[in-house]
Amino acid sequence: MAKPVRRRLRKLLPWALGLFAGGIVLVLAIAYSGIFNIAASAGHPVLLEWLLTLGKERSVIVNSKPVDVPELNLTELVPLGAAHFQGGCATCHRTPGQRLNPVYDQMLPPPPDLKVHAPMWTRKQLFWMVRHGIQFTGMPAWSGDDRDDEVWAVVAFLEALPSMNTVDYLKYASGNSKDIIAAQAGEVASQGRPKINLTACSRCHDTDNAPPTSPYVPSLGGQNKAYLKRALHEYHSDLRQSGFMELIAVELDNEHINNLADYYASLKSSVSKTAQNVSSEGAMLAVHGDLSHKIPACLSCHGANKRPDYPRLAGQSEQYIKQQLLVLQRGIRAKTPYGAIMTTIAKRLTEQQMGAAAAFFASQSLTERTEHKAVEGLRQ
């Protein structure tokens, strides 16, 4: 029995191979001939449109399955996500209440109105699309390498977006920036219509009378000038990864960076303390370190009278410090020599120690000396 079947198959084999080769030649011939119209204006044939949509949706659904969803605090993350959306995404995806820019409307496929489309996806799927981008659509991947933690802020915003009206959106997206005022016709004619600019730092960061819009945003007022300069240069040259900051820093030249560092270093901090309760573990770690795990005291670098290119941490929020420690621990900041120092130490910290150290610095006020009396008491 087996033999005749095999013989028949053997007879079919040349035919199968021939068909396969013919198919490849046909595809190459079509591609080379140029008869397939790839013009965006031509649109997709119905069948191709259906096939592409199916492939895209299934790919997002299947690939996003392994995503781990952290606990999201929407109120803390939405302002940050909204400000980034305004700077990074709104150009293509439109802001609420706006008509899609006709230029981007001519893309194929046109960028979807996320007020309508975001609710069609789960949290995991939204994360996956923002993090990795989508081929053939113009949707880019997240520009901060491995900064998954940042992507969640955008996801939080996308979940909040459908229920936002124009006023809500503007409030979040402009953060601490000044209200957009209607400009005189002459000004518009010469300078353009004022709008919330990508490089407006106060969309997220603190001003002299307002704290940062989210606890995941560092407060800059009173920070060391040399550190601020270094950070902006590192973002500018892709040495420090952040999908939020890199696209802003790349727009800044040396003079801008210098001036901004000056400005924020001399800005009076509006943040006094962002946390009250400090565990003794946090204070111990800050003042003495943890000898058994070879962790030096935080204050040996982040205390008073230290290098001006080391950041001051007093008054930063618990969430921000802890997030940065986790980022450091994952080695994402090890590309810069400064980040490499802290990476070594962050790898020795447990998550609980990170939280304790973060709470300690959050309970310190930038205006006081970091090594104030309570700390002196601990030293004894």
Binding site: G289, L291, K294, I295, P296, A297, S300, C301, N305, K306, R307, D309, Y310, P337, Y338, A340, I341, M342, T343, T344, I345
Partner: protein, 326 residues
Amino acid sequence: MKQVWMIFCVMALLIIAGCDGRQSAFTALGPVSSRITLLTWIMFIGAAFITLLICALMVISIAGPADWRHKLTSEKSIVWGGMVFPVVTLTALLIYGFLVLKAGGTLSQAENPVHISVIGEQWWWRVIYRHDDGHTTESANELRIPTGRPIEIELSTADVIHSFWIPAYAGKVDMVPGRTNILHFIADKPGTVTGQCAEYCGGAHALMSFYTVAMTPSDYDAWLAKERMDAKPALAHEGEQVFLSSGCAGCHTVRGIPADGKIGPNLTHVGSRLSLGAGILPNTKEGFAKWISQHKTVKPENLMPPFDIFSESELQALSVYLNSLE
């Protein structure tokens, strides 16, 4: 054939050249190591004789005269040569071995020993001198001892198993987590030898060595009195400022300035030591600069964070400062 013989000779010469005395078990500079060396020679020469004897017996048993071969098979030669001889020889060696071991033991009852603690760390040595008045002075990566006095070293470890070995003075003793082992020895005359971690302890194990300097008792007392003092106020203020502001004090102690980190080696008198990085770089300004800027390549996997942040002038100032801590 001739070539093979030549290669063998060259290799043997190279190996023998390694025994230059500084770190050689054949160069015994104290009573404890002398006895070990003597035991080594006795065993080596004895083993060589026995090997020759066995070879001769084998030749006889194959090609010897018939009556000799007959004698070899007799019960008497088997009992005497095969049982009595090994038992007597091995028993004698065992007893002698115990006596050599006890040599350190008798030293433990000796009066007025020098008390020093050495703690193995990945990958360096924490050395603590215990003064008669109960105080201690911490140093690192170098051992100074007086000649003629019994030395008692408490050996322990901060992390994994290390083994403390100064071949010129004593046998190797392991540093085992949760245990304190005691090593006793005496140095006969002044001189400098090297020691080495003799138990694989991770990445930089091979680069975990140290100098041991034996000094006359009066020199030693003078040295210890100086070692006990705080670092002199630095003339190299700029370097001191770099040291303090860059966070070095988080891990390193320099007594006399606000630097009390205990994670890494104590640097109070680091400039007076013979080497840097646990016996691997010369103690010079250049050595310090090389260590600070390239320690990750000079001693891969060592636990100090990389400090590639210094400007050329900061690095110079820091190196000058550290080198001045004598």
